[in-house]
């Protein structure tokens, strides 16, 4: 039946539904450590969450929840799964018991950690490279820096290493999906657009948001343009292009690895 799985991503809802948890005959009541050890969190996740949030948690009709364990914390997620959340369409799962809910959270955490082993660079050196390469002109880390590009304070928790490497050497080629603003399935973030209004005014800027009738672009000076699509004579995406420079030729492979090490270490203020 699975009719209904389009939710406001900003609400970051977990939608869980019964799609095939494994037999859990041995699973006892909440708090039973032994039972918990026998629970296959992956199977439980794929049975209850994957239907809406994707088999790997990267989103589907529901939002991506890959970073949810890192951002919400295990206790909040378990509380959410038990009690629900105002405005959420998601059913609650108190009947799962703490052991099964914890197994789901454990698996969710493992998704967020995926790719961490690929980091080989030195974060301390990377931090110096970050400062000397001018990254802070456009990015904020820990409250400091410019605001043209995305906040990187938690980028290590939010993006995989491969995607971060792409962003450094070929920005614009492998853009992430925006899960914060999209009303349902995520769409591509940071896409560069060129717009021409009917009176001939040209704007090139990064897409901040878009719907069927309007698009919001931010230009290289950080100025926001709210454009009515019906009043444009031209609107084209510029695939592969980005406001961010490539560091492929300005940093060595070692420096890029170190910078990656630093970025991957940015997990927020905790």
């Amino acid at each position: 039946m699975i009719m209904i799985r389009s939710l406001c991503a900003a609400m970051l809802i977990f939608t869980a539904w019964g799609l095939g948890p494994q037999p859990l005959a041995a699973a006892a009541q909440a708090g039973d450590k032994q039972a918990q050890a026998s629970i296959d969190g992956k199977a439980l996740f794929e049975g209850t969450c994957a239907g809406c949030h994707g088999i790997d948690g990267s989103g589907g009709t529901g939002p991506s929840i890959r970073q949810q364990a890192a951002t919400m914390g295990a206790d909040s997620i378990i509380s959410f799964l038990k009690n629900g959340f105002i405005g959420s369409a998601m059913p609650t799962y108190p009947q799962f018991g703490d052991a099964r809910l914890q197994a789901i959270v454990d698996y969710l955490e493992s998704l967020g950690r995926e790719g961490a082993s690929l980091v080989t660079g030195d974060p301390a050196k990377g931090k110096e490279i970050y400062a000397s390469s001018g990254c802070a002109k456009c990015h904020i880390v820990g409250g400091e820096g410019g605001n043209l590009g995305p906040d990187l304070s938690r980028i290590g928790a939010e993006r995989g290493v491969a995607a971060l490497r792409d962003a450094l050497v070929q920005p614009g080629a492998n853009l992430p999906l925006d899960i914060a603003l999209a009303e349902r399935a995520p769409y591509t973030a940071f896409v560069l657009y060129h717009a021409v209004t009917k009176d001939g005014h040209e704007i090139t800027g990064m897409r901040v948001n878009e719907d069927s009738f309007s698009i919001q672009l931010k230009d290289a000076n950080g100025k926001l343009y709210s454009l009515d699509k019906l009043r444009l004579q031209k609107l084209e995406a510029l695939p592969g292009k980005s406001m961010m420079p490539s560091f492929k030729d300005t940093l060595s492979a070692t420096q890029i690895n170190d910078l990656l090490g630093y970025l991957a270490s940015l997990k927020g203020a905790q």
Binding site: I4, L7, W17, E46, G47, G60, S88
Partner: protein, 540 residues
Amino acid sequence: MRSGRYIGCGVVLLCALLCLPLRSRAQHVTYDDIQHSDQHPENWLTYGGNYQSHRFSQLKQINKDNVSSLRMEWVYQLRQAGIPETSPIVVDGYLYMTEPPSTVTALDARTGRAIWRWKPDIPKNLVTIGLFPTNRGVAVLGDTVYVSTIDSYLVALDAKTGAVRWKTHVAENKEGYATTSAPLAIDGKIITGPGGGEAGLRGVIDAFDAKTGKRLWRLWTVPKEGEPGVETWEGDSWKWGGATAWNAGTYDPDTNTLYWGTGNPAPDWNGDARKGDNLYSCSLLAIDADTGKMKWYFQFSPHDTHDWDAAEPPILIDAVFNGKPRKLVVMANRNGFYYVLDRLTGEFLLGVPFIKQTWAKGLDAKGRPIPLPDIDPSANGTLLYPSITGAMNFNSPSYSPLTGLLYVTAREQGSYYFKGRPRMDPVNPTLAGGGGGQKVLTGDPMYTAMRGLEATTGKKKWEFRMVADSWTGTLATAGGLVFSADAAGNFFALDADTGAPLWHTQVGGLVRANPVTFAVDGRQYVAAAAGNSLFVFALP
């Protein structure tokens, strides 16, 4: 009472101008009224607008020339948390809507002020598998409002006070039966179907006496041992076959026939233990409304492993097909094909894709899909179009007899289908499962489009492309307009002939409900539930 006479004259004049019949606020809806709902366009008497589910209104006060000045008239903020899918019913100035999960609220349709509210006690251990607790609306007949509750009771409420007249147990929620659909009121009967097909149960369609709540008949959508069709289920797999009739159906008063779509077989994505066609899942059923006996069936997706329910309300059209006047039933199916059938016989007449589809070579002469190789879900994921949410879903298309077009929100999206280990556990349905999962293709290539399809051919006449997804039904009017919305909160009106956008507004929340239109005191309104509210628009 001279002033009263002047007001009366004014109302008559207004009604004459609007071509509306003058109706008192009688609050009594007869079967005849619903049967001729097109003659009472000030009211919206049944889920689909009329028994044929056209969602077409004869109102034309709001039209192509003036829709650009449409403005918000009132907003009703829901008292219940959740995402509404309600399609309001309007009777002589009363607007009846539901709030998640099963609350019924009667509003003054002119102002949005509440008249009464009825809130059922929902069990704390409510079982909802494969669905979330919401409700799509009520039915009305006589002076009674009918609602199917999430825990699968059918409740009759007094239309003026909300007092309970009777309450009937439809199906056992502990077994997984949970109801979100609007019931259908026909002559003396209320028809309803619970959902919950992933819980390890068999679907049912039930008819109840509108006066007493007594069950008149039950149709099981999955045959049991000894019944024809059970051979399409391997072993005992029929016992948890699913195939629930979880959305509203349609009715042909001329032949006293119900047309109802059914959902997926269970478990969803692993069909290994249920080899066969799995009747009557993913099918359209034609049912004798007096006896509940099936007249014919047509299965769109035999042995479905992609969750392609046939849940969208079927639309009945009388039209010339291949030079002959025919009585047709059409459906833009979740599997990506648009179907035209003879509704008297179930004969397949036409089936063409209305979105990109990559799972079937086509349909054979009888309408059975010719599947391409390797389309089954797999351990590493099988990429197919359409996605699991489908080319369409539960939201209703509309049909305009003026344009001959069917207006449908078509989803262009692919999905990786994964196969897992299924589990059906009727004893503890909360542990039941569908045996797999999905990963939909997202990002910019995915889009939805409102399409105007020629109803008898399925040919696309125009489309209006939306950036966001859409879960909204459509509403067509004699004013030459089609109303719908996208998931980003844009509620809009298009030119019914060309698809050109004529008006839009941002309601700030997800729209997952079918819009309706009605009139009070000669003034036309358009209503749609969005976010956590019901928004109502009118001309200044």
